[in-house]
């Protein structure tokens, strides 16, 4: 599991101390956990709208994977989305084999090189770098891609020629900077939890005693 989870203990201790019974504390934890979960979802949806106009909506998927649990002495918000931990902490990713494949076009974003069976290794000029780099490109004489077969036919005509399309760049490693902005600001989370707790306490105080 390469998601990330955050547990709040110290932050909510003063809130829990205001509740006398274990049942009351449990209820309080559930309610403030929900507030933190909702804040986290909103944050991730907002990130998706800002950062992912296309593709598979990575941050929206992360938002929908966000859930909450009461844990001993606190609440936990868990985001069960592959890669979110890597984005938060950053760090270097190394391949299991020789190279990592980096999508070179919007068409190959969110896909695996092995989904295509018409790629070949070449050294290609990267215009952005002004240097030659290893890449996976469409073969000169190509078979249909597993993912992108020629519409209406599985046959490949010999006349198909190399399109010059660079599908993936190949790199030995990738180093990503830590991006704490993938999680909501701690102050915002704590504020939402306090607001939920205050609302609960006010509601209970206003309820007629039995």
């Amino acid at each position: 599991m390469t998601g990330v989870a955050v547990t709040f203990e110290d932050e909510i201790t003063p809130l829990m101390a205001r509740v006398r019974t274990a049942a009351g504390r449990e209820g309080m934890a559930v309610e403030i956990g929900r507030a933190a979960q909702q804040t986290t979802r909103e944050h991730l949806f907002r990130l998706d709208r800002a950062r992912h106009q296309g593709g598979r909506h990575y941050y929206a998927q992360a938002a929908r994977s966000t859930h909450q649990r009461s844990v001993t002495g606190g609440v936990m918000i868990s985001i069960n989305q592959v890669g979110i931990r890597q984005r938060y902490y950053g760090g270097t990713i190394r391949p299991r084999g020789k190279y990592l494949t980096i999508p070179a076009s919007t068409r190959t974003q969110g896909t695996r090189a092995r989904e295509y069976n018409d790629l070949e290794f070449r050294y290609v000029l990267d215009p952005k770098l002004g240097a030659v780099r290893p890449a996976l490109v469409r073969k000169v004489s190509t078979a249909p891609a597993l993912a992108e077969r020629v519409k209406g036919s599985r046959r490949v005509t010999p006349a198909e020629t190399f399109t010059g399309e660079i599908m993936f760049w190949l790199v030995r490693k990738v180093t990503q900077r830590a991006d704490p902005s993938v999680l909501p600001d701690r102050k915002l989370l704590v504020r939402s939890m306090f607001a939920a707790a205050e609302a609960r306490l006010a509601r209970l105080a206003a309820a007629p005693s039995s």
């Binding site: 390469t2 209820g27 929900r34 929908r64 936990m76 868990s78 592959v82 609960r200």
Partner: protein
């Protein structure tokens, strides 16, 4: 604030676990006729007759829910399975939604199943008594942009058609309001998924957010002392039964509906409209 290892999203995993594979020759229109309670308990896909493929999709869905794998890797595995089964799309259908091996089709299967399970999980957590007391209402909102032009649906019109009320243009209702069931009702909307939680339709970026009691009172949705009834839509009873029992229940429920029958390979064939059942 302590960083920890994520915990399984139990409610979402339950929603995936409760599903029995349902191979069928039925198309989208046929499947629309199935009761929502049946659909929530079945892992199916239009014209998908392979239990093995459905198992692979189900396994992929569980991995995605757990955060154990990424969608591209799961999709690749399903494509490789298709290859090993010598699957070939019908002429003219390759690459499209009717091609069971296409990126488009597999993405739709995975994303719909994962989002539906997560939607159920979020819904169930929002139905807990303490959450419901503090947040008795919710708002339908555009959570993220559509992946393509398919979600240019007029959601405000849909909300009105489902009986929803607008509050300054916002689509808000109590959590026990019938509008939430109607939003995804396939009888009202062809693309409806039949659930009272998001996604209400295929490829939809609409979602819900909690609305507090104070705001619900202020909007006139309820009086301060009013309570909202928790929905009893959970899979606890189902999950206490064995997988074989759940599968048997599913088959019986479908056969009793008269919509179709299972052949000797366990594939559901829908009865042609007007034909004998």
């Amino acid at each position: 604030m302590i960083f920890a290892k994520p915990l399984p999203f139990d409610e979402a995993l339950d929603a995936a676990e409760v599903r029995s594979v349902l191979p069928t020759t039925g198309n989208t229109a046929d499947l629309r006729a199935l009761d929502s309670a049946i659909k929530r308990r079945a892992m199916f896909s239009a014209t998908e007759t392979s239990a093995r493929a459905l198992d692979a999709i189900g396994e992929g869905v569980r991995e995605l829910l757990d955060g154990d794998n990424d969608q591209a890797s799961v999709r690749l595995r399903i494509k490789q399975l298709r290859e090993s089964m010598s699957y070939s799309p019908e002429p003219g259908k390759a690459g499209g939604l009717q091609d069971l091996s296409s990126t488009l089709r597999i993405n739709l299967q995975l994303e719909t199943n994962v989002a539906t399970a997560q939607g159920y999980g979020n819904y169930l957590q929002g139905q807990q008594a303490d959450v419901l007391a503090g947040n008795p209402a919710q708002e339908l909102f555009r959570a993220f942009g559509p992946s393509d032009s398919s979600d240019q649906r007029p959601w405000a019109e849909r909300w009105a058609q489902a009986g929803g009320t607008f509050f300054g243009g916002r689509m808000i209702a109590l959590k026990d309001d019938g509008v939430w069931s109607r939003l995804g009702d396939p009888a009202l909307f062809d693309d409806g998924l039949g659930n009272p939680y998001p996604p209400y339709a295929f490829n939809s970026g609409m979602d819900v957010r909690d609305i507090s009691r104070a705001d619900a009172v202020q909007l006139g949705l309820m009086e301060p002392g009013d309570e909202v009834t928790a929905d009893s839509l959970d899979f606890n009873t189902d999950l206490q039964a064995s997988a074989a029992t759940r599968n048997e229940w599913l088959r019986s429920a479908i056969e009793e509906s008269g919509l179709g029958a299972f052949d000797s390979s366990g594939v559901l064939n829908f009865t042609p409209e007007g034909g004998e059942s």
